[in-house]
């Protein structure tokens, strides 16, 4: 199919080109005596030739069109030459007046040659594009003229920097990952996250091609006289409905430096069938190789054998402490506002630190800088709305979005009074503002808040909140040196209010605040070196817990754990060095210096197990610095291009973590607390080596990769049996150190274009833990290795989408994994006539294997480009096969007898209908 189309395009193009090559069209009518404006208008309508000009040049110009000639050149020449106005023709034959500019005089011969050659290249490239209409083609060929500097001052042969920012024409958002390529000089560059690129070229004429997936290709005729920058707009491909599912540069799989990076755009996130119709960033991440979870609906995820708190989840650079709603059933991010996410599993760049397993970076969209628009939708759980538009003067944009449940209504539908007396609600909201101050300074603000409230038929109310924000100032010192300065804060708190028993009625609070200031520099040292360096200072302020009586009768003793404070200063430097076409290396070093700050009471224990009964003294340390930890963390990656379509990559990284989530339960719960490294709790340390082989097929449309990794984690936090983590003044007595070893193989096939697209991934991985202390209390499994709770060796995922037409598509998602490990009783025994179970080795058994298949049918509204709102419907069925996947297995002693139970959350297919709109 696409092959046939391709041939048609080629024929059309050849025909088209031959017409252009016919030099000078013969005019059908005589235009003598017309004013120039009228002439231009007529040419456009009658001859289909566009004429571009500045009105002031042609104010009094009247066309001189002698009878008997039909040559356009002759007419233009006779009319314009006396006025000293020059013009050029672009390859499509359109006329561009250039005033009396010198520029064009240098052009004629070489210009057309270059353009024609370029057109031919475009033709080849077009063939690989999924879409293509002659309209797209023609605009591809239309070249823009860009002149930098005064041509008079050009020194031939001197090199100059050409830099710029590429934005999307419709929305004004930066175009990331666009390839900017100067054919003649064979120099290329790729735009960064801000759409910025820089390259060094010899001065003179260049044909620059711009390419980016999802954008129309564009050609620029650059007349580079001295260093300078420009702003370029790219148009979104009209064929966007056909969708590009995975945003990545063509060939980046192979030629990019990154190993263990997954970048997923919102298009894919939205395409995946979602439970209850809530498209979910985190649930999408779980489909990627190397990412696992203890159960569907459980909050948090595990990356390559790391625990859930070892993922640095960033929303526009600000950390998020609780990433889910409703105990993990939904993620805390509104899918309408998410642009994409990046998950670094290995080869983590030096600018990141603080968590040892992964960096999960969520980027929100920035507002539309051209016009007011919005989108929204309704699913059975939530309603959501987003509005965006330009700020005054169109030099910036805003975006505001919110999502809220009405599940409370849903709960009331059930004829069970327990549920009717329960309530569950959540909301989240974002505000994103970006403002360009001038050419070299941009400001951006991102604010985010989320809230969950839950009450279960009793008088206990849970409430938890996220609030975070980033203020970013981007400053370009020069074409080569760019800085980004950020002020970041993040807050998380929870509150439990229990009125069940008036004497014991209490209010429990926990809060963590994080404040960070950082400056990051990027220095484009040369075509082959990109330096990044920066410094950050982070403050951690914890209120580890307080409890107050509620009501007059309550006898609860007010209690507050001392606040905890710490400061972490980190600086880093890294260089990406493209040694040659084949070999690139990245080296980075991050140094962090952490101080646990006083004044604060510190517990000291005698020799022997760290237990409350070994407490010697609790000393109120007045020192500012109670405990220091510092150390370097090296980051290294290497890419070797075997050939144009395959490469080998290698990476090593060390990570340090000073903030830990204490969660003794299998899945994380909102009442888990974060704890700082202190006198007793050492920072967690992770080392990872990864090796990958990448290969693209079929003109880079099919990407494959195979990665292996080995990770070693030191000082991972484990818990003694029956550990009590809330409001514990001697919390260190319940914690022990563990060692983790993880290794695995990850295979991934991705097809990004075409009617049929998607990804298939398979992972084989193991995660083993060892906890061995000097004393029996500090040892788990008698000091032997045991599988971690999330050790699921085999994991196969397929996400496949097929577009039947531009309006109708079907997506399916299939997941299989080994069941997670569990501890089963090895015996029963009786005490006082009641049966109890005895457990021995941890995680010796497994729950049955997990399998699930989901399907969604997506119907887009009509394709007219001008209409009030664009709407779409999505019907999804979660767990089509209705398999009873085991969520948990537990044993209860009831009336003195032990009974085992297994719980499945979704044991039937769950259909959901979701409506979304855009305006």
């Amino acid at each position: 199919m696409s092959k046939r189309l391709l041939i048609i395009f080629q024929i059309a193009l050849l025909f088209f080109l031959s017409e252009v090559a016919g030099q000078d069209p013969c005019l059908e009518y005589n235009y003598d005596g017309l004013r120039f404006e009228a002439f231009a208008d007529s040419l456009n309508r009658a001859e289909n030739i566009q004429v571009s000009y500045l009105a002031r040049w042609v104010e009094d110009v009247v066309i001189d069109h002698p009878k008997g000639t039909c040559s356009l050149d002759a007419v233009l020449g006779r009319t314009l030459a006396p006025r000293g106005i020059r013009y050029i023709k672009d390859p499509s034959g359109n006329i561009i007046l250039t005033g009396n500019s010198e520029v064009v005089t240098a052009l004629p011969e070489s210009f057309y040659n270059v353009s024609t050659r370029e057109s031919a290249i475009v033709l080849e490239d077009e063939g690989t594009q999924p879409a293509g209409e002659s309209r797209v083609l023609s605009s591809t060929i239309a070249a823009k003229q860009v002149t930098i500097g005064n041509p008079a001052e050009r020194i031939p042969g001197k090199r100059a920097n050409f830099s710029g920012v590429i934005t999307e024409k419709e929305t004004g958002e930066p175009v990331i990952g666009a390839v900017v390529y100067a054919e003649s000089a064979e120099v290329g560059s790729i735009t960064d996250n801000n759409g910025y690129f820089v390259m060094t070229l010899p001065s003179g004429q260049h044909t620059i091609t711009l390419r980016c997936v999802g954008m129309e290709n564009q050609t620029i005729n650059l007349n580079l006289n001295e260093s300078g920058s420009t702003k370029i707009e790219m148009k979104e491909e009209i064929t966007a409905l056909r969708g590009v599912i995975v945003v990545a540069d063509k060939g980046k799989n192979v030629s990019g430096m990154q190993i263990g990076l997954n970048k997923i755009s919102v298009e894919l996130i939205k395409q995946i069938p979602a439970v209850m119709g809530e498209s979910d960033v985190l649930k999408t991440a779980i489909l990627l190789p190397g990412v696992q979870t203890v159960g569907e609906g459980a909050a948090g995820f595990n990356v390559r054998g790391g625990s859930t708190d070892q993922n640095l989840i960033l929303l526009n650079s600000a950390p998020v402490f609780n990433s889910s709603h409703f105990f993990g059933f939904f993620s805390a991010f509104n899918p309408d506002l998410v642009k994409e996410f990046e998950l670094y599993k290995s080869g983590i760049p030096a600018e990141f630190g603080g968590r040892i397993s992964s960096v999960f970076q969520i980027t929100t969209k920035s507002g539309n800088t051209k016009k007011l628009s919005g989108s929204g939708g309704i699913s059975p759980v939530t309603a959501r709305l987003m509005v965006e538009g330009p700020t005054v003067g169109e030099s910036g944009s805003f975006l505001i979005g919110a999502r809220s449940t009405f599940s409370d209504l849903l709960l009331k539908q059930f004829k069970v009074s327990t549920l009717q007396r329960s309530s569950a609600a959540f909301y989240d909201a974002n505000l994103i503002v970006s403002q360009s101050i001038n050419e070299n300074n941009d400001l951006a603000l991102s604010l985010y808040t989320s809230n969950d409230q839950f009450q279960l038929s009793s008088d206990t109310v849970y409430n938890y909140n996220n609030l975070n924000g980033t203020l970013e100032w981007k400053h370009d010192f020069s074409d080569k040196l760019i800085s980004e300065t950020k002020a970041i804060f993040s807050h998380y708190d929870y509150n439990v209010n229990s009125m069940d028993n008036e004497i014991n009625a209490f209010d429990l609070n926990y809060a963590i605040d994080y404040i960070e200031g950082r400056t990051d520099f990027r220095y484009f040292l040369s075509n082959v070196h990109t330096l990044k360096f920066g410094i950050s200072s982070s403050w951690y302020l914890l209120e580890p817990g307080s409890r107050y009586p509620v009501g007059e009768q309550s006898l609860v003793e007010p209690f507050q754990l001392e606040k905890e404070n710490a400061n972490e200063v980190a600086f880093y430097i890294s260089d990406e060095y493209n040694i040659n076409q084949r070999l690139s290396v990245y080296g980075g070093l991050r140094f962090s210096y952490y101080r646990y700050l006083g004044p604060k009471t510190v517990n000291y224990y005698s020799e022997g197990p760290r237990e409350p009964f070994n407490l010697i003294s609790s000393v109120y340390e007045t020192d500012r610095t109670i405990q220091r930890y510092a150390g370097p963390a090296a980051r290294f990656s290497l890419r070797y291009k075997v050939d144009n379509v395959s490469s080998l990559k290698l990476s090593y990284n060390r990570m340090r973590q000073y903030l830990h989530m204490l969660s003794n339960t299998t899945a994380i719960s909102p009442t888990d607390i974060w704890k700082l490294s202190d006198t007793h709790i050492r920072p967690q340390l992770g080392d990872q080596v990864a090796l990958g082989y990448y290969r693209d097929f079929n003109n880079n449309t099919i990407e494959t990769s195979a990665e292996i990794y080995y990770k070693h984690i030191q000082d991972m936090i484990e818990y003694k049996g029956g550990a009590s983590l809330i409001l514990n003044e001697m919390i260190e007595t319940d914690l022990i150190d563990g060692t983790g070893n993880a290794y695995g193989l990850e295979l991934l096939i991705k097809k990004k274009y075409g009617r049929l697209n998607g990804l298939i991934s398979y992972t084989y991985s193991r995660t083993l833990m060892k906890v061995v202390g000097e004393y029996a209390e500090e040892t788990i499994n008698r000091g032997n290795y045991y599988p971690a709770n999330y050790d699921k060796p085999n994991d196969l995922t397929a996400v496949i989408s097929y577009k039947f037409s531009r309006r109708f598509s079907v997506s399916s998602n299939i997941t299989y994994s080994t069941g997670r490990p569990i501890t089963l009783p090895v015996a029963k025994y009786k005490l006082r006539g009641s049966e109890y179970v005895h457990y021995s080795f941890r995680n010796e058994y497994r729950v049955p294997d997990y399998f699930r298949c989901d399907i969604s049918l997506n119907l887009e509204g009509n394709l007219r480009s001008k209409k009030l709102a664009h709407s779409s419907w999505s019907l999804s069925v979660y767990n089509v096969t209705g398999r009873n996947n085991v969520y948990s297995i537990y044993f209860v002693s009831r009336s003195g007898k032990i009974q085992g139970y297994k719980l499945s959350i979704f044991s039937e297919p769950i259909p959901t209908l979701t409506y979304s709109f855009r305006f």
Binding site: F329, Y829, S895, G900
Partner: protein, 380 residues
């Protein structure tokens, strides 16, 4: 707290998200661990004191083997010892009057099993008993998923220690109820009304360390459903309140955690719960159970049928009893599956009264007809 969240997942999520389900689970186990279990309690109350020594048993077994022929002794900090005698296999008793449980003293359990292994508990202080302020009940409804609510009485206890020294409480109770059968069979007069007793099974503990006063308020002890006949005539409950050392409280708390849903996603991974007894020569050997030394106080309450709220209609336990009167001689055919209550003649005809079940005329099938000493007759 964790528990509440777990309940949310267990009860709410399946219903809320529809299509969820909880099913009985029968694990496939390839291993069984044989461990010694020692279970003993020593209080200040002078009564028969028991120590049970058994071994663990497989998941699908009913009971473990008893450890017979062991030497069991209790020793006070003053060095006074008393030896238990084996009353039945694995059950060792120290008869009332053998040894005084003195408040403030420390006690230790010493055991030598028949194979010569010696076990000892750590010394446990006998804390002062605390006061039971009140044992009371309220009518309550318990919600059930996809079923009508369960009605009944919820019994609560209030305990306290004005001297603020107890902090860790545990409760146990023995409930006893009087019931009667449906039919009076001649010659079975003493089998019309019986009594039945039941010991509490659940672990009921509370800590008051977070309170300004040492008050354990409104601790739920027992829910008496109207679906069984416990409230049909007269009900009594003897509540024993134990003052535990912190270590003992921690043990029972961990045991409770490990046996209530342990293994669900919102619970800590299950771990062995090891008590205060160890093998002298091999401290690594796991020993289950606990030698509990505690100050104890008791309180008994009675609830008679006419005290309970009028809108509660307790079951009699005789709902299954059918009564059949047959006239004439054709009885032999009917007798299969029916029990004869009586025969009599009326208007020169032979009548036979039959009952569907033995337990409809013989209460000793379900209880004892020996009235407990403490029993108060309900006002008829």
């Amino acid at each position: 707290m964790q528990r509440t969240i777990r309940h949310i997942i267990l009860f709410l999520a399946p219903v809320f998200l529809a299509g969820g389900c909880i099913e009985p689970y029968y694990p496939e186990l390839d291993r069984y661990e044989d461990v010694l279990v020692i279970d003993g309690t020593f209080t200040n109350i002078d009564e028969d004191r028991y120590v049970n020594i058994t071994r663990t048993y497989g998941y699908y077994d009913v009971k473990g083997t008893e450890e017979t022929g062991a030497v069991v002794m209790v020793r006070s900090e003053d060095g006074i010892t008393a030896t238990y005698t084996e009353k039945s296999p694995g059950t060792y008793v120290l008869p009332a009057g053998s040894m005084e449980g003195e408040i403030g003293k420390e006690y230790q359990l010493l055991i030598e099993t028949s194979d010569g292994s010696q076990y000892t508990s750590s010394y446990q202080a006998l804390k002062k008993p605390s006061g039971i302020d009140s044992v009371y009940y309220e009518k309550e409804e318990i919600m059930r998923i996809a079923d009508s609510p369960l009605n009944g009485l919820q019994v609560y206890v209030d305990g306290s220690d004005p001297e603020n020294e107890t902090h860790y409480y545990q409760w146990e109770f023995t409930e006893t109820w009087e019931f009667s059968v449906a039919f009076q069979k001649p010659g079975y007069d003493n089998k019309y009304t019986c009594w039945r007793s039941n010991d509490s099974k659940a672990i009921i503990i509370a800590s008051t360390t977070q309170l300004t006063e040492d008050v354990a308020y409104r601790q739920p002890l027992n829910f008496i459903s109207t679906e069984n006949p416990r409230l049909s005539r007269m009900y009594s409950m003897n509540v024993r309140q134990l003052s535990l050392p912190q270590e003992a409280y921690d043990f029972w708390r961990k045991l409770e955690l490990a046996n209530e849903h342990a293994g669900s996603l919102f619970d800590p991974p299950p771990t062995p719960v090891i008590g205060n007894i160890e093998n002298i020569e091999d401290p690594e050997e796991p020993v289950l159970g606990y030698f509990r030394v505690a100050g104890a106080s008791e309180k008994r309450i009675f609830i008679s049928r006419n005290e309970i709220p009028a809108d509660l209609s307790p079951a009699t336990g005789n709902e299954h009893c059918e009564y059949l009167e047959v006239v004439g001689e054709g009885i032999d055919e009917l007798q299969h599956g029916w029990y004869l209550i009586t025969r009599f003649t009326y208007m020169d005809l032979l009548w036979t009264a039959l009952s569907s079940h033995v337990d409809c005329y013989d209460c000793t099938q379900k209880g004892t007809n020996i009235k407990p000493e403490f029993w108060i007759d309900p006002d008829e």
